[in-house]
Symmetry: C4
Subunit: 212 residues, 4 copies
């Protein structure tokens, strides 16, 4: 049974919106008993850093989910289940984020960084499976007049996802700081549309607002 | 007064999305004071297990809610109230999940498993009532051109729900592990569309993506 | 500036859905350290009671909000602000609910019941203001072909709201139990459609599903 | 790639709705162990005050977001990213609110007020960037028949935002109370539609409901 995608998008929007908003709850509130407030606020930088990286990651994932579903026009049972697995990854993000924030600069920071990046590897793999399933012509989930060239550019960009996050994960053994810096950089990479990444034609076709 | 179902679906989507996302808050965050991080993370397996079972359960329930409302085209006062009772069950899930996670492997694990399965029995009963009320031809809530054969296949699949979860509940007295394993298995059963479960015709009509 | 109401409804649905789902977080999780689990679960009855009353209240309010916006077709600046005041009441509910749950059977239970009912008085007043503003013909917020007789029946039912919740509030000085019982009863009163309450004509026009 | 704005609005609605509803979680629940309940409730006024200011701020921001997107008809990649930055500000609000509530009347209240107002300065700047990007004719994001005069009145009102919140921030060094009073007043200023603020013509065109 195939149906349209309006409710899948609505439910996913809800999960993305909640997961991204819950992140702020991980930042502990300094109290007067803890000493001068300004100093406490500064000492909490790992919480802000972890919050920002995860916020960017979930936000960019939402942008990509939105981008995919401008192409996907129908859903079937397996797409629903793949989407649910993706949301499993998304709702999990607040947990590794909180673990990372609580352990940065502590003995457990390597294990925390591995857990953090492993979550992202999982999500990147599911994103690929979901997209590859949707674009496969035999499933008829794209619009009849879908732009298959654009879809293929998305596929090319996504190929990099699991590999790049695996590199982040491995890098954690060498340097937790380098691993997290690369992770933050990847969010920017996926924020850019695939046109920009793969061909740079978009830049010439219409002046990109990002360059001014 | 009967009205269309768009807002019922939107409100339900919101509740499902929030309940499924709040589950992650039940997993406690290990801190440096608690010993080596990796060991703490491994010791928390009951939290992950309870999280995964409840995530699957709410997710599959959402898929089924979505499936029902592709047939239901109008709502009336009693449907709203039945839907509200269903959402009462859904929003409750984080509580028995947290109780189970906190008591697995402890003296209270049997009581926790009973509470956990009792919630699911309640939800399965309400799901049946909601669906039976909606398909009853005298209420005129389905589309005029509804596929009554498909609706009946859903009815047949749902009959099993309350009984199967009651068996899970009873099994908790014999073995908590067996009870939870069956519970996890049931989520998979209800993830499959009723076509697949009752006739397997769908498999021949179009090659199922699940088999590749 | 008047605009359509789709986004007002979507935003309100979100707030209702979150407020109703957050209620479960107020129920504390029993741990093995607290003694036999079953006994702990039973001792927590005030939490379940407060949860159920507030769940019913928010759920019924959502049904009424939904009912109002099947009539309201346009929004303007003041309607947005009245709706925001209503949502202020709705998002507040988890707080008096938690205060009530923590103090039932304790010396502070009267103050908690007063706070609880005062929240409901506030919400009932705002609901009346919102509805009265919307139905006033000079504001042109209803559909051109609105059913003004049905709208008036809603008005009549809502008149009772602030008065009835004020009686609940006053009753708390005599008996906290009676006050809460009346409060729970009111949720049922407002769950019934205004047709049913004011004229009982609906019952004869089509056999009500509630009676079977 | 430009697309329509329905999902951007839905995702934003979700984030606004959750952020505004999470604020209530910052109010701590008095327990019997803390002394007479009524006295505890009164002593918690900083929490209610901070809750109300932030509720008003997020609510008014939502009204303005809604107002902007009645003009904006298309979204592109940069608009999505600017909107995400805006949501970053919105989801952050519960944190400075909780810090302010916990430190009002304490030595750290100045630092807390600075953090609180700094968040609002950030949000006001992003709101301006988002709007200025959207109205720029070269980006073709407004409807072809957009009311450019109305759009310009919005631009004029928004110019004040960053400056006014910066004044709030500076005022915190002189007086925390004055800073917060001005902050609360600003929420009212932005609640009024730009017509009302910049020309007062609306008042004569149709009798404003706010004056009766």
């Amino acid at each position: 049974m195939t149906t349209e995608t309006a409710r899948v998008e609505a439910f996913s929007d809800g999960v993305f919106a909640i997961a991204i908003t819950l992140l702020i709850l991980d930042i502990k509130i300094p109290t007067p008993a803890g000493g001068p407030l300004a100093r406490q606020l500064l000492a909490d930088w790992p919480f802000y850093f972890a919050f920002l990286v995860s916020f960017a990651f979930i936000g960019i994932m939402w942008i990509n989910h939105h981008r995919l579903f401008t192409h996907i026009k129908r859903s079937d049972d397996l797409l629903l289940i793949l989407n649910l697995l993706l949301l499993l990854g998304v709702t999990s993000v607040p947990f590794p984020t909180a673990v990372l924030a609580a352990n940065l600069g502590q003995p457990g920071q390597r294990a925390a960084a591995v857990l953090f990046n492993a979550t992202y590897v999982f999500i990147a793999i599911i994103f690929n499976l979901l997209w590859r399933y949707a674009v496969s012509r035999s499933h008829h989930l794209l619009a009849a007049d879908a732009d298959f060239a654009a879809a293929q550019r998305i596929s090319r960009q996504y190929y990099f996802g699991p590999v790049l996050y695996l590199i982040c994960l491995g890098l954690a053994w060498v340097s937790v700081a380098a691993s997290l810096a690369l992770n933050a950089g990847l969010a920017c990479f996926f924020a850019f549309p695939p046109d920009f990444v793969s061909t740079r034609r978009a830049k010439r076709a219409r002046p990109s607002a990002l360059q001014r």
